[in-house]
Symmetry: C2
Subunit: 559 residues, 2 copies
């Protein structure tokens, strides 16, 4: 994983540095420095430059470049004071001969100071004091004006630095980056990171410069992704934030910055699906929708195709979203081409047929095409009750009683659906008949349904329970809940609740809710617990404790 890799790299850096294997160090830094915005790694990098380039004639330029590079990437870090201070000291130590060179040096030092004293970080106060001292040492007369000019902004940044420290307190930047575990420690970290990010979003510096806000927010996201790179929401929210900033800047008239941030959003998406999120559909779809929003339809095709080309993933939802995009952006003909691709892929599941059929019905209003697609799917997924139920649902919308009836009969008599899975279909058939059929029809279906249930579970003498389904309507029942339970209706519903193709997520949520309601406590074994009897005088042979006794323990085997 990324974070572990980072550790390993830092460790390796230290080792290769110790071994003075400079060639490998160089390659390592090239590979990971920009990707891993970790303050310790960057400090190591600066030390490396200092150690290795000291003897070169271009040392001063190289070193200044390195500092500028580091401050550009890591200057916003709350722990960046040392880099700022080192840079100043480095500049101060540069030899300058003549007043022109000396003035240049002063300008350079002043520039770094002036950037740093308004940068929220720990020890900003020290940096401010050093700056004031520096200005005083140069010219006490203009020092006052210089520091007064910057004083207000420094005060602001000092306040922000305090908040920054408070809002990042507790964040464990060394947390290993692993897939979500849903354990409390993880939830706490996620929460802390999100609080930090939304603090940055709230513009604590109270600046008018939206690009600066965005850069600070993105720095927070980048830091967060080093730890939470396996959490899809962080990636998505980072990209959305960039999209949001892009829109704001474009609205303000800054087309270039707008375009740049939009491209950065795309880059975030791209990075997510090429690295840690490479099998996460959510980010593929969000990326595709983002590019669709920018009208880059060719790009969208590429994104969906990249997802669909992956092995070891279920392509079904991918095809469905691709089809929906094609319909929205290019019309039904394009969507049909996607559906053709889906049909030719033998990993595709039934939901694609449902989606395609309903698209024809709801979007292009082609009832007959929809029916044809459902029929085509029935050949392939006739054994899936979930598919049959979707088809039946559609058919009953069409309000053609006989066709609906024929479909029920076809599916139920096909022998393709396992008895335990057919009960839900029988129940729907009964609901349909009690809506449109006569009493004899209703009773006939009821009887056949009872036989189907009988096959699956012991349901002797529970005719009354089956009758309930004839009379219930939406949430109205013809008996009280106590009566329903007493006549065995719960056993029937249980069967259906378990069999019904309901969402696994909803089920998981309900079960989790219930687990919360009834936590399972560890229970002591009280089998051999002895009752305590308060007594003034304790008989010999018993087990006395102050104030009474325990009876002798039961003889072995007497329990």
């Amino acid at each position: 994983c990324q974070k572990k890799e980072q550790y390993w790299k830092i460790k390796l850096c230290i080792n290769v540095l110790k071994a003075k294997n400079f060639e490998r160090v160089e390659k390592l830094f090239q590979r990971c420095l920009v990707k891993v915005l970790n303050i310790d790694l960057w400090k190591l990098y600066l030390n490396y430059i200092k150690d290795t380039k000291g003897s070169l004639p271009s040392y001063r330029e190289k070193m200044a470049q390195a500092y500028d590079f580091a401050l550009d990437k890591m200057g916003m870090d709350i722990m960046s004071y040392q880099i700022w201070a080192d840079y100043v000291n480095f500049l101060k130590s540069v030899e300058a001969v003549g007043s022109y060179a000396e003035n240049q040096r002063i300008t350079a030092v002043r520039k770094v100071y002036q950037r740093g004293v308004v940068n929220p970080m720990i020890n900003i106060e020290i940096f401010w004091k050093e700056y004031c001292a520096y200005e005083n040492s140069i010219n006490p007369l203009i020092a006052k004006k210089m520091t007064e000019d910057r004083g207000r902004e420094y005060m602001n940044s000092r306040r922000v630095a305090k908040e920054y420290e408070a809002v990042t307190r507790g964040i464990n930047k060394n947390m290993p980056s692993i897939p979500p575990m849903n354990i409390p420690e993880e939830a706490t970290q996620v929460d802390l990171w999100k609080k930090y990010i939304s603090w940055e979003k709230s513009n604590p510096l109270k600046t008018e410069d939206h690009a600066l806000i965005t850069r600070r927010v993105m720095f927070a996201y980048e830091q967060c992704l080093l730890c939470l790179g396996h959490h899809p929401d962080i990636w998505y929210e980072a990209a959305s934030y960039l999209e949001h900033s892009s829109r704001i800047l474009t609205e303000k008239g800054d087309q270039n910055a707008g375009k740049m941030f939009a491209d950065e959003a795309a880059a975030i998406y791209e990075r997510s699906i090429t690295t840690l999120m490479k099998s996460n559909m959510l980010l593929f779809f969000a990326y595709a929708d983002f590019e669709e929003g920018r009208m880059k339809y060719e790009k969208v095709h590429t994104i969906y195709k990249r997802f669909l080309a992956m092995q070891d993933t279920d392509p079904t939802l991918g095809y469905i979203q691709y089809m929906k995009f094609a319909r929205r952006a290019e019309g039904i003909k394009s969507a049909r081409l996607v559906f053709k691709m889906a049909r030719e892929n033998n990993k595709t599941k039934y939901q694609v047929y449902v989606a395609a059929a309903l698209m024809e019905y709801y979007c292009s209003k082609e009832k007959n095409v929809a029916l044809k697609i459902f029929e085509l799917g029935l050949k392939k997924y006739g054994g899936h009750p979930e598919y049959a139920l979707c088809y039946m649902d559609f058919m009953s919308h069409l309000n053609e009683d006989n066709n609906t009836r024929v479909l029920y009969e076809r599916v139920l008599s096909s022998g393709q659906i396992l008895p335990e899975k057919s009960i839900e279909i029988w129940s729907r058939f009964l609901a349909f008949e009690s809506e449109v059929g006569d009493l004899a029809c209703i009773q006939k279906v009821e009887k056949r349904r009872a036989q189907a249930i009988e096959k699956v579970q012991e349901f002797e003498d529970k005719d009354t329970a089956l009758l309930i389904d004839r009379y219930k309507y939406i949430d109205l029942y013809p008996c009280t809940q106590t009566e329903l339970k007493a006549i065995g209706y719960y056993d029937l519903v249980k069967q259906q609740v378990v069999q019904a193709p309901s969402s696994s997520v909803t089920k998981a949520v309900m079960i989790e809710e219930d687990n919360k309601r009834q936590p399972e406590y560890p229970k002591p074994d009280v089998e051999q617990m002895l009752p305590f009897k308060p007594k003034a005088v304790v008989l010999p042979g018993s087990h006395p404790v102050s104030g009474g006794e325990f009876p002798p323990p039961p003889a072995a085997g007497s329990l």
Copy 2:
């Protein structure tokens, strides 16, 4: 309740018998004897006749009538031997002068013996021996033939008596008749009764006489109803069994018996809804359906009207079933009259409007009438999200995008639906738009939905969770379950699971299932539990027990 009443009656009988208040006894027997088929009560009755009518000139006739009456009603009881034996002894004791009278007496005694020795009951063997002895005492020559003739049938009945005894073992006929409690003891009794009844249904006597089987089964049901009269399934199953027998006998060509059993079925229904089941819809509806099956439509109208005339009941489901009957039996015009009645009743709930509208759509194919009814209902139930969802569901079946969109907007902007109840509607709106809308439409609805959710619950920084609903399809999700949980999607679903107008029964069943998985144990308070330390030598001041000691208990307040 009925059973308590029975006790009270028997008790009272005994008291009034003791007090020789014969007039009251007579009235009591008239009121309850036929209703309460309890063997002890009937024995009391016979004693009463014996005691009070002994001095009358018509004593012999009256007594014989009483015995015949008792055997007719209670002769099938497993404990009826004493009545059979008493009757024989009574007949034997009758004075008979002359060979004609003596022969008449022999015939009468023989008749009772011959009915009794083939009647499964405890002590049937004794009765058989007595019979054999009796025949021998009269004429040893024909005795052999007589007993041989009946021997096979007696053997059969003796076998059945054994089974009878076994299958009724454990049944508590003195169980008080109270509404279902759903406690294990009750379930055991229900189970035992049902086993006994289905044993009778299985024709243990192996007779060809279906009327006899039916009488025996109905005797079992009557006995059962004395204890389980508050269980609607017993009533319904008793009536269905009679209906079933009626059909069998009619098919066999016995129109009269068929008609008789059908009328008896009606009588059982009638009894149920006039006594213990008078507020149970299930029996009203089943009764109505039974009469509908016999084409007695006027009767059906009376039944529904009786139900709807009741105070203190929710008439909604009654109107719905009444409407469905009217449509099936008499056509849509009749159903519309029922809907009119329903509209005029201010206790009616929204489901009636849904049922009426869907009936117009599905049965009479009157789309516009259906729409009018839905509109009418919206005026009345605009604040009920359940109603709005039914209407929206219908509207989207019609496949008219703009009307559907307008309806969503109307309902959501009406201000009639509470924010916490509107989320489900927003989710449906989103599903609708992601089926037919373009990306901008989808995003707009998503945004408004997020605002609605924000109003109800803290949902900060959970944008990704909301995005899931854009991409999910049937049961496919764009993330793994772990990821879904980590990004907070479960919290969103939880809200919807709780808010969704799903069936209370399904929920109750799911919760019960979960309770089963995790029973809540009573837990001892272990807060002050002291660890036991095995020790050879125990220090003074500690709490020694054999083999070790407990540390001194913590000082008060130290926990």
